[in-house]
């Protein structure tokens, strides 16, 4: 019953758990950590007797190959289109439902248990079913991404609306502000950091949705590139799209994190 509050709590945990390094010595250790992983990986690939385990060097060379043939760009473009439209549709729907759930008790009572249940469900399970229903085209991929994105955005938006201190809305009402003014001046600004948290969590989920949908439809996209290369035992080439997805995920996540931290800092400063 307290699903929404719990997810907000998780987000608050994460807010503290992941942050960007500040001091110079801290940065040095941070970079050393990443370097160590790459070195260890290369070393392991070199000594391993399994010829299917390739090191970062081979992956880098394969990246250059795939870029120069234009293959990577072609497949990445297709994934980017599914991701962008899916994110847009899913976040808009999530925002709308989240605001309604946060604002109207009746809507919350009706939807909260189902939204929480869907959030706890491994949504990847419905991907094959959705593809059977919607076909192998772009539409089904957009719908899949939108569904993945919808839940974190809706839950965090609702939590954001809940976070508005009741005193503030009551004060606004007693000063005769209209519903619209209360939304514009109080509710939306207060909910904004939560909405960004929702978007940040949605990016990761959306990427999972795109990739697994592309595994299933097996027509185009980075997911298909991974599948087709690994089935031909071209391990280095199959890891190139994985690295691309890794970087995209990390950059979007980190970028939204910064926006969020700035908002929270500004909010505390008020």
């Amino acid at each position: 019953m307290t699903g929404i509050a719990d997810e907000a709590q998780v987000a608050a945990h994460e807010r503290r758990a992941t942050r960007l390094p500040a001091r110079a010595s801290e940065r040095l250790w941070w970079a050393a950590g990443l370097l160590l992983v790459v070195l260890f990986w290369q070393l392991y690939a070199a000594i391993s007797s399994n010829s299917l385990i390739v090191g970062p060097w081979e992956v880098a060379r394969a990246t250059v190959d795939l870029i120069s043939t234009g293959e990577l760009w072609e497949y990445a473009q297709s994934s980017a289109i599914s991701m962008t439209f899916g994110m847009l549709a899913g976040s808009l729907a999530g925002l709308l439902i989240g605001l309604l759930v946060g604002r109207f008790r009746l809507v919350e009572v009706a939807l909260d248990p189902y939204i929480s249940a869907a959030y706890a469900t491994p949504l990847v399970a419905i991907i094959p079913v959705l593809i059977v229903l919607l076909g192998f085209g772009l539409t089904s991929k957009i719908v899949i991404v939108a569904i993945f994105v919808f839940f974190p955005v809706a839950i965090n938006t609702a939590a954001g609306v809940h976070s508005v201190p009741r005193d503030l809305t009551e004060l606004a009402r007693s000063f005769c502000s209209t519903e619209l003014q209360a939304w514009r001046d109080i509710v939306v600004p207060a909910a904004l950091p939560f909405i960004v948290t929702g978007l940040r969590l949605a990016v990761g989920r959306g990427l999972i949705g795109v990739v697994v949908a592309e595994f299933e439809t097996a027509v185009t996209g980075l997911g298909y590139l991974i599948l087709s290369k690994s089935r031909r035992f071209l391990m280095a080439e199959s890891l190139v799209p994985v690295v691309v997805l890794m970087l995209v995920g990390f950059l979007l996540y980190g970028g939204l994190k910064r926006v969020e931290n700035r908002m929270l800092a500004r909010r505390r400063g008020l």
């Binding site: 307290t2 719990d6 998780v10 992941t18 941070w30 385990i53 469900t121 593809i131 059977v132 994985v242």
Partner: protein, 257 residues
């Protein structure tokens, strides 16, 4: 709307909404043709058939085995690693980059590659589930230690407490709610890992059952294992929230953040 807080009203609204959805769904299935859009009625019929023939159980057991093994290893490795990372500043800085990088990566993307390299057996699937679980457990355990009240530790040190008693009296109890949150998130990720691995390993497990029936366009039957996964997800989440309240009653669930 004080009326809406009456539990009878709450449940009436919830159940009413569910019934409405089911009616619309059944009507839509009738309108579009039940072969294409599975009707709720058709799902129940398929569920009964799958349970009766023992097929559902036969495919569910391997999934549960893989899930529990991978999850257990993930927790056993992740909690101590996270606690250590949270306690020692340099270790934290060193590991923060790689751990966040792996945590934000859509891990599902690597699954076909891992399956090709390590083979399609159960141990590969256990490894995949482990990888899905371990990072959220590490991140949250480390955050739990870093969240410990510094004044308390200072006080303990000035009274000459040993590192061991500091762990026992202060660090572990303070970190426990965070560790449990990490485990809860980990279970959700474990389910994703297991299902996607079964999509491609294609031998057994509920993931494979979903693929099989989807490929035969039998949507109603494909949705039965999906419903089982919904129950697993909701059940494990509820269980962990209960554990959370039970083990750390001092930490108000919404207040530990």
């Amino acid at each position: 709307m004080a009326r809406a807080d009456d539990p009878r009203v709450v449940w009436a609204v919830r159940i009413g909404f569910a019934v409405l959805v089911l009616i619309v769904w059944q009507a839509a299935a009738a309108w579009f043709g039940a072969n294409f859009v599975a009707s709720p009625g058709g799902m129940v019929t398929s569920a009964i058939a799958l349970v009766r023939s023992g097929e559902l159980l036969r495919y569910l057991l391997p999934t549960l085995g893989v899930l529990s093994a991978g999850f257990a290893i993930g927790v056993v490795v992740g909690v101590p690693a996270g606690l250590a990372i949270g306690r020692w500043q340099r270790l934290y800085w060193l590991s923060e980059g790689p751990i966040n990088l792996f945590y934000t990566t859509p891990m599902a993307a690597v699954i076909p590659v891992i399956l090709v390299i390590l083979g399609f057996g159960a141990s590969t699937k256990i490894f995949i589930v482990f990888v899905f679980v371990v990072f959220s457990v590490i991140i949250n355990s480390a955050a739990g230690i870093r969240n410990v009240d510094g004044d308390l530790l200072e006080l303990a040190r000035s009274y000459g407490s040993s590192e061991l008693s500091r762990w026992r009296e202060i660090l572990v109890p303070s970190a426990l709610p965070f560790v449990l949150t990490g485990i809860r998130i980990g279970i959700g990720r474990a389910l994703i890992g297991a299902v996607v691995a079964e999509f491609y390993a294609g031998i057994d497990g509920v993931g494979y059952l979903i693929i099989q029936y989807s490929n035969r366009f039998n949507v109603a039957a494909a949705l039965v294992p999906v419903a089982v996964l919904v129950a697993l997800g909701v059940g494990s989440t509820t269980l962990l929230k209960w554990l959370h309240r039970r083990l750390t009653p001092w930490a108000d669930q919404a207040g530990t953040g």
